[in-house]
């Protein structure tokens, strides 16, 4: 570089790997061995996972009772909105052939209920639910304010449509003795929901905090009356309310309603025997051709899913394996032909060169 004037040097591009595009790099290549072993490995994994999932789902116990039609008289009653204050209790007996071991969860399941409609999802006020600004009903259309102009608390379509059946499970201890299965009302929600996302206005003189507001039109009682027995479970912090407010992704969904309180007879879970659901039928589903069910179920290590995931894993695993065999066969069969082809293409290339390059 001696003898080259300064400005020559300064215009010379830097000799860095980055600028000269020769950064050290790993070149990804799909060699047959790598691809085939990935395929075999994935196949094995998926198959195993599928079998495990299927087996574990099979081991769960589940009772699902659709009570839309069973309680048809109640359903008819609810068809008419004017009967909103008439109580209707419906009792559904059922037999549990095997005992449900471990934690048992009670769900209500709705189908045909579109909790994922855009307007529906938007129609809530997080500001209000966090207990800070009860008057913030900006996003709650069409349930913002009452006729008198007072804000609805909790406002919005989601809150207004809250599921309000009461389901009580009773166990027929013997022919004459019915006992109510003890159920827990708490622990149904996510921790963050209960302690961050939902907050009551500060506590002293609870109901007065909600003064100047109106209950949602479909609600029989105001928000501060949801659970009078337990202050912790009242107002915006009511577990049933919080569960409802976490909108479902699909029109058919189940939401946790109660969980078994494992004491007395039920320390092991639900023993086999006769049971009945006593349902206070309030939620009108027939109006929108929906259905509702009550579900009792136990869970596996990966929650309470259906067979889908297990089957999907099995199928994927099987397909991957099939594919890997096919790939291997093709690879081996074409190996010879490939060599021939390469020779040909090489010759062809040479020919082109000779033609082009004189």
């Amino acid at each position: 570089m001696k003898g080259i004037p300064e400005h020559h040097l300064s215009r010379m591009p830097d000799n860095t790997a980055m600028k000269q595009q020769n950064l050290p790099a790993y070149q990804l290549r799909f060699s047959a061995t790598v691809v085939l072993s990935i395929f075999f490995g994935t196949g094995v994994f998926c198959l195993c996972m599928g079998v495990i999932l299927i087996l574990s789902v099979k081991s769960t116990k589940k009772i699902e009772i659709n009570y839309t039609k069973i309680c048809s008289n109640c359903a008819q009653l609810r068809e008419n909105a004017f009967n909103f204050d008439k109580e209707c209790i419906c009792s559904i007996p059922f037999y549990l052939p095997e005992k449900m071991e471990g934690n048992v969860y009670m769900y209500y399941k709705l189908s045909g209920f579109y909790q994922n409609l855009y307007r529906y999802i938007q129609s809530r006020s997080n500001n209000q639910l966090v207990g800070e600004a009860l008057r913030d009903v900006e996003d709650c259309a069409p349930f913002k304010v009452s006729h008198h102009g007072t804000p609805i608390v909790p406002c919005g379509a989601i809150a207004n449509s809250m599921f309000n059946d009461t389901i009580i499970l009773s166990y027929k201890l013997n022919s004459s003795m019915h006992i109510t299965v003890p159920m827990l009302k708490n622990g149904l929600t996510w921790w963050t929901d209960k302690y961050v996302k939902f907050q009551n206005p500060s506590f002293n003189n609870f109901s007065s905090k909600f003064a100047g507001s109106t209950k949602p039109p479909y609600w029989p009682k105001p928000i501060y009356d949801l659970d009078r027995n337990n202050v912790e479970n009242n107002g915006f912090l009511n577990d049933d309310f919080i569960v409802w407010m976490r909108t479902a992704a699909f029109p058919t969904f189940k939401k946790l309603y109660r969980r078994l309180y494992r004491i007395h007879y039920f320390t092991e879970g639900l023993p086999a025997g006769n049971y009945s659901f006593n349902i206070s039928y309030n939620f009108p589903v027939t109006r929108f051709h929906g259905e509702k069910s009550v579900v009792l179920s136990t869970l596996t290590w990966c929650g309470g899913g259906g067979f889908f995931l297990g089957v999907a894993y099995t199928v994927t695993g099987a397909l991957t394996w099939l594919a890997s065999f096919a790939l291997m066969a093709v690879h081996l069969m074409w190996k010879k032909k490939k060599i021939a082809y390469q020779k040909k293409s090489y010759a062809l290339r040479r020919k082109t060169e000779n033609r082009n390059g004189q």
Binding site: I4, P5, R11, M12, K19, Q21, P24, Y26, L28, R29, F30, A32, F39, T42, C46, N103, Y105, L117, Y118, R119, I121, S123, S125, N127, V130, P142, F143, A157, S161, W190, T192, V196, K197, A248, A249, F250, P251, T252, F253, K254, L256, R287, F288, H289, C302, G304, G305, G306, F308, L309, Y313, T316, T320, L327, W334, K338, S345, E353, N356, Q358
Partner: protein, 1194 residues
Amino acid sequence: MPCWKEKPPEVERTVKANDREYNEKFQYADNRIHTSKYNIITFLPINLFEQFQRVANAYFLFLLILQLIPEISSLTWFTTIVPLVLVITMTAVKDATDDYFRHKSDNQVNNRQSEVLIDGKLQNEKWMNVKVGDIIKLENNQFVAADLLLLSSSEPHGLCYIETAELDGETNLKVRHALSVTSELGADISRLARFDGTVVCEAPNNKLDKFTGVLSWKDSKHSLNNQKIILRGCVLRNTGWCFGMVIFAGPDTKLMQNSGKTKFKRTSIDRLMNTLVLWIFGFLVCLGIILAIGNSIWENQVGGHFRTFLFWNEEEKNSVFSGFLTFWSYIIILNTVVPISLYVSMEVIRLGHSYFINWDRKMYYTGKAAPAEARTTTLNEELGQIEYVFSDKTGTLTQNIMTFKKCSVNGRIYGEICDDPVHKKVITKEKEAVRFSGQAPAEGSFEFCDHSLMESVKLGDAKVHEFFRLLALCHTVMSEEDHSGKLIYQVQSPDEGALVTAARNCGFIFKSRTPETITIEEMGTLVTYQLLAFLDFNNIRKRMSVIVRNPAGQIKLYSKGADTILFERLHPSSEALLSVTSDHLSEFAGEGLRTLAIAYRDLDEKYFREWHQMLQTASAATHERDDRVSGLYEEIERDLTLLGATAIEDKLQEGVIETIASLSVANIKIWVLTGDKQETAINIGYACTLLTEDMNDVFVIAGNTVGEVREELRKAKGSLFGQNSSVLSGHAACEKQQQLELVSVGEDTVTVTGDYALVINGHSLAHALESDVKNDLLELACLCKAVICCRVTPLQKAQVVELVRKRRNAVTLAIGDGANDVSMIKTAHIGVGISGQEGLQAVLASDYSFAQFRYLQRLLLVHGRWSYFRMCKFLCYFFYKNFAFTLVHFWFGFFCGFSAQTVYDQWFVTLFNIVYTSLPVLAMGIFDQDVSDQNSMDCPQLYEPGQLNLLFNKRKFFICVAHGIYTSLALFFIPYGAFYSTAGEDGQHVADYQSFAVTMATSLVIVVSVQIALDTSYWTVINHVFIWGSIATYFSILFTMHSNGIFEMFPSQFPFVGNVWHSLTQKCVWLVILLTTVASIMPVVAFRFLKMDLHPALTDQIRRWQKAQKKARPVRRRRPQPRRSSSRRSGYAFAHQEGYGELITSGKNMRAKNPPPTSGLEKPLFNSTSWLENLCKKTTDTLSSFSQEKTVKL
């Protein structure tokens, strides 16, 4: 140019010298130039206006407006405005920087100094303050500041010499001369200051070769033409000083008027993208319609009942109206199939590639300290698709340096190539040995190295002496001594320079000349020859001769010229020598050297006297003067005695042959378009192996009428096809040939067997470009391996490029160095300028510039190929990614009552394209390499996929879209199936909307990241950082946005609080994500593997055979060994211009030893106007863009 000052168009311009007040009332533009677009105040409005004229930006603005309508807004406004603002800002910053540099260069030009005559004094003034009517003083080697009327100069007759390289690319000097009335003003400041002539002339226009005007001064009128005008952009040469009056300034100058707006170039990928975007838009509308209909039906069937829980306003109860609103809502949601970040990313990638070009050390020319430069940052991938290269000759293929390579004297060849340094040393010693005392040092550039010639000189071989004497005498070179006493030759043609220099180095030094004598130093002794006659060169005679009387009183005619011409005029006694020399000549020609034959004749006194008498009568004649004179020339130039031949190498630029060979392997066709003469052009064609001796035929089209040209074209085609193929229509044949080249198997019956070349002349080309002959020309040209167009004007260059570009629909590249290449550079898809030359016009108009032709190979085969490869990969991936991302909403539509609910969190929609997935794909788009640069260079065949548009086309696009759709299906339905009425590990929610959204988003990010990981074939550190970093960024942003803190601050903006903790701690969520990834990726891997296994592309093979590569490397073609073919080809080529003989014999251009400042020392000379006008006529023609006959470019 201030556009707000609307002036009526100028019809005529009136300028009064030295009278600013008078001129001011016309409001002529001053000399300030303005190429910048904005200033600080106008930047924002103008730039924004320009940006929103772009379809994409307007589209996103439209979306933004849609989103502001609450009834249809399905996404919050920030999802569009954040990217849009980002894009607009980035573009604005780029525009601002560009404009800043324009301001800077404007300022630099505007602030150049010039000497202006103000208030009777010469004052230094900035260029921008020069006004019309001012008188400026220019000094030697200064740039001309404005279009001037030449008033006076330091040279006799008010002559001045200018170089017009910046205007027309020609480096030879042109003569301008002032009116005699004004040239008398000389350098007398007081007289100049009193000068008050008024010029009435044409309005500003862009014709470089025309000027009409009248100067009125002292009650008389003088007409003005182009000869009196010095244009801005010229450089004053060989002239001490001159004075000029400003006629046109600033934007009105011809230079500025000529620099038309650069055409906005787009790449073919851009155009394809436009089509695709339209298709996508159609697709989007279709999806919108499907979903809108779905919504109407749903509202009718289900939604109507569902109103119990969700009151609609009365007017919205109409399900059709609801469908209509849904349509717009879905248009908003699905708009991400045409993501705004696509355009930005493309720009960023191209910018990156441009920087790589700028940074490439292998395209840096140390000799001129010139790095390659990508002047346009938007065309890079087009470099990977070039099919035709149009190249200029001089300065591009050749260095414009002539060297005396070989000679044949009296049947003996001198000057074999010797590269041995030891040998060379010996020769230099030898050379020094033959040098005589007092001899000026030999020119450094002289490289002749055959000591046997020196020996012959030393031994006093009479023929050799005569040979060099001839070279020292028969030329038009002017000599000059600089201050150090060194002899400097001013040459009109570089060929002559080489010959005279050769003679000088061999002891026959041309010292000086007067109109009547030539003085040379022969082996150390000064000899003065009397110059009796000068038989000038012209294109028909193809030779020039001088008749001299030596001190001994003998009269000799020395002649040099084309072998074909001279051989006809030899004395029979030279027969034997002729055949030997002829062999030598063909050998020289085979090596691509330019040859001249050398001969002399002894004349006896009486004969010459008679002849001279006749010549003088003929010269004085007014009638048929030229014919009579040339007849007399013929008469005396006969019975010549052959001396030998010279061979001059028109030095090619380094690596031209290799580059051409390599590009032709890459199936790139190279056309040479040159202003040179046919012989010179053909010669260069052979020299750079574009033409070869073993070509079947070289068609030369040189017809003078449309009919002739057509006939010649047809005939050529006929001989090309044989007899039966004249039926074939032009296009079919062309396409056939094209296909043929692709398949590269020659089995078709109508195949053109063998190699052909086409050489077409400028005036034939003018006819051939007429509408009906066009097709014939194109057809023939496409079938030929090489096409050389000679004597073409700049305009024709552009027309040829346009023809190929339009008719063949091929991607073209034009490369050139001079201003005469500007038009073609601007016309071609890609224009490349050779930098480091004196004129900058070509570089300024070009898209890419570098210093050497050979860098074209690297630019195309490496940078172009990579750019194309990367861009295609990028686009494929981008479309895939966005379809996968967006179509999920479509599937979800069927489960959410077509209510335009998004699947993802709004923040995710906003950030997905610009944060979560942009960097890995950018890194791939910028850094990816399939094969290394060395392999791309060594295996030019790799270039072909680009030409055939294989890597990204409509088919590929559909594959990408299908891939995206498949992925979106997997992405949606696997979580859907898994989440369908499921519960979490603690029995709580997991099938809620928010968890579903998080699961889907996470799966999507992981799937597309794995996909980009698969697509990236060259994993640098940056790729690692970006890919892993993107995933990490996704999770960190996710955790941040779902954190308590941010929720407490903005409860309504971040409703997903805590979601990520609950979802991502569920095992089943991870199982879902895993399954989705496997299901989306495995088929791709399988397909890629199969494709590579069954149909490996050349790149795959090369990657596989990285080690065994050397074998596959095509052998670099060296210069072919000289071949002696039976049909001898003349290597004659001589870049000489007619008219200088007259100049010499008149003595006009000979300066007195100490040039007087004024015109005092003028000698009265006979017919002084005639030579001057003659010369001027001849030199101006070179400026004219349409001259065909007399243009000879140096």
